[in-house]
């Protein structure tokens, strides 16, 4: 084994799946390089298979938008042995035809669009080519898929919005948007759990805490789930924030299986 990357496959000409070493204690099983529900389903399904297989020496797996991270102890399982075990599991089926996860949910999450909670709504509507009211409605009703939890605790990458929403990132990074902001760019929505700097535009804010360390589990939504937003006004937003602070459920969950 050498330290060379496992493959010289250039982005955009991807033949899935690909195993890539990520340091001496992790491998990435890559199913593609695009934001694509089929690629995402493959990653989610293979992650579930790995959890079921419980390979000795593997300490953790995590699905991303397009791959599965496999962390392991190389003193317990040699990299070559792990690669062989992963290849065997990969050969079990065509993972790119895997369906969406069986146990998935549709979440309805309140969100306050525009105004101080979504200061970029007007600009977003201009870019999309509709009125701010229509932009809020279309975004809320889009039923976006959770592609990944990443970046920070409970931060959800949602998509894909229609092509009209292929709006660019801001040229300058904003020093901070408040916690629980909904940000949009390039046909995606990011649900931020904490206050963060960002180059994306802010369309709304939700009283829902996608990450709450007091809750068990701290993160409720899972990759493969779908999310619709329920527009609420600023007064309802304040009330719902208080309910969330008090630990009450302010979202609804419906099984999609």
């Amino acid at each position: 084994m050498t330290g060379e990357p496992s493959t010289a496959c250039p982005p955009g000409r991807h033949t899935a799946p690909v195993l890539r070493a990520a340091g001496d204690s992790a491998l990435l099983v890559e199913f593609g390089d695009r934001l694509d529900p089929a690629i995402n389903n493959a990653a989610i399904a293979f992650d579930a298979r790995l959890r079921q297989a419980a390979l000795a020496g593997v300490s953790e797996t995590a699905p991303t938008i397009r791959s599965v991270l496999v962390r392991y102890d190389p003193l317990e399982i040699a990299p070559a042995a792990l690669r062989a075990a992963l290849t065997e599991l990969l050969d079990e089926r065509d993972w790119l035809s895997a369906p969406a996860p069986a146990q998935r949910s549709l979440w309805r999450i309140p969100a306050c669009y525009g105004g101080e909670h979504g200061p970029d709504l007007d600009e977003i509507a201009d870019l999309v080519g509709c009125t701010p009211r229509e932009a809020a409605e279309r975004h809320a009703n889009a039923h976006q898929r959770v592609f990944m939890l990443g970046f920070a605790p409970g931060v959800a990458y949602l998509g894909l919005l229609p092509e009209a929403w292929n709006i660019p990132r801001l040229k300058e990074v904003r020093p901070e948007v408040p916690a629980c902001s909904l940000l949009v760019a390039i046909r995606q929505t990011v649900l931020f759990a904490a206050a963060m700097p960002t180059g994306w535009r802010s369309i709304a804010r939700t009283p829902f805490r996608s990450f709450d360390p007091r809750r068990q589990p701290p993160v409720l939504i899972a990759p493969g789930d779908e999310i619709g937003f329920e527009p609420v006004d600023a007064a309802a937003f304040v009330r719902l924030c208080e309910s969330a602070e008090a630990g009450k459920d302010i979202v609804t969950r419906e099984s999609l299986s």
């Binding site: 330290g3 699905p63 360390p213 589990p217």
Partner: protein, 341 residues
């Protein structure tokens, strides 16, 4: 109870962190220098899972309340004084109520560690006491320690103090071993060669999340533009953002990222990387995966042998104000153990 009489700019409570939660966007975090955690545990003869105070660049002053506390200091050597008397680093000693332990600036690295017998016993949050400042979890209310904080201390099983360990070889190490990263093939062979031949300066734009590295030559550029669809990142990844200035991703790194990672620091050199002082220069050296595993195995054995490497602290008594604080002779058990037995 341990009182923070004064605090340097970044004292945080850390342990091994929160492994296994990357699927929720929760990064492992934990100590920047895992060797230092093991060294402190060995000096106090206790479990390496207990929480410690990590001191970035500068310490603070500390006082015990109630019972005498056993203390060990490891990691980057810092100027330390116990009631005004100079203390050697990498030692264990007793901190009696009324005494003041003062810890100053780091001299040969960045992260110093204060270990206490029984461990820092702040509440666990999501399975760990580690502070993750950005998410405001762990530690004391998810924040850095401040003047006036009083930290609960766990039950100390007791044991000897006045022991010393030699400073680890990682301090002063200016060659960091790497494997090519998961996206190294986005860079041309020439650009990768240049990466290996370049001397880097550790900038002061660094924290627990990552460290920006200043190359002596031009910035680095990926040949094939990535689609920018985020992927998982791992501890020790060297990512190259748009400006071409590499960033080493450390304990509190984001769990995912969209920039290409040209290289990944081998596990055995993560502590050495974290401890490179600001403005120091260093280079990366490419190794084979098998070398990385040999180095990791060696480090694991070194940790297992730490308790046999300890020796009693022998000092010139004329330099010492309080021999008792060191329990020099036969390792008198701690006052705390006497109380509880």
């Amino acid at each position: 109870m341990l009182e923070i009489v004064s605090a340097g700019p970044s004292l945080t409570i850390q342990d091994r962190g929160r492994p296994g939660l990357q699927r929720f966007g929760i990064t492992q975090g934990g100590v920047m220098d895992a060797m230092a955690l093991a060294e402190g545990a060995a000096l106090l003869g206790q479990c390496g899972d207990l929480a410690v105070i990590e001191m970035a660049g500068f310490g603070g002053s500390f006082r015990a309340h109630g019972a005498t506390l056993r203390i060990a200091l490891t990691g980057a050597a810092m100027r330390a004084r116990l009631d005004g008397q100079a203390l050697p680093w990498n030692t264990s000693f007793a901190l009696e109520p009324g005494m003041t332990l003062e810890i100053g600036a780091a001299e040969n690295g960045v992260y110093g560690y204060l270990h206490v017998g029984g461990g820092v016993a702040t509440p666990e949050q999501i399975g760990s006491r580690s502070t993750h400042l950005r998410s405001a979890i762990g530690g004391l209310d998810g924040r850095a320690l401040a003047q006036g904080d009083r930290l609960p201390v766990g039950q100390d099983a007791g044991g000897r103090t006045g022991l010393v360990l030699e400073a680890g070889k990682r301090f002063g190490q200016r060659e960091v071993r790497i494997l090519w990263g998961a996206q190294a093939d986005a860079f041309s062979p020439a650009e990768r060669e240049r990466f290996l031949a370049t001397t880097f300066e550790m900038t002061t734009r660094r924290d627990r999340q990552g460290a920006r590295l200043q190359p002596a030559g031009d910035p680095f550029h990926a040949e094939t533009a990535l689609t920018g669809v985020s992927d998982a990142v791992v501890l020790g990844d060297i990512q190259v953002p748009g400006d071409g200035m590499p960033v080493a991703l450390l304990a509190d790194r984001q769990p995912t990222g969209g920039y290409p990672r040209i290289a990944t620091v081998i596990s055995a050199d993560l502590a050495a990387m974290a401890q490179i002082p600001g403005h120091a220069t260093f280079r990366f050296r490419l190794v084979e995966e098998s070398d990385a595993l040999l180095a990791l195995g060696r480090q694991k054995r070194e940790i297992a042998e730490l308790s046999r490497q300890m020796r009693p602290l022998v000092r010139d008594p004329r330099d010492m104000g309080d021999l008792l604080a060191f329990n020099l002779v036969d390792g008198v058990i701690s006052a705390r153990e006497e109380e509880t037995s």
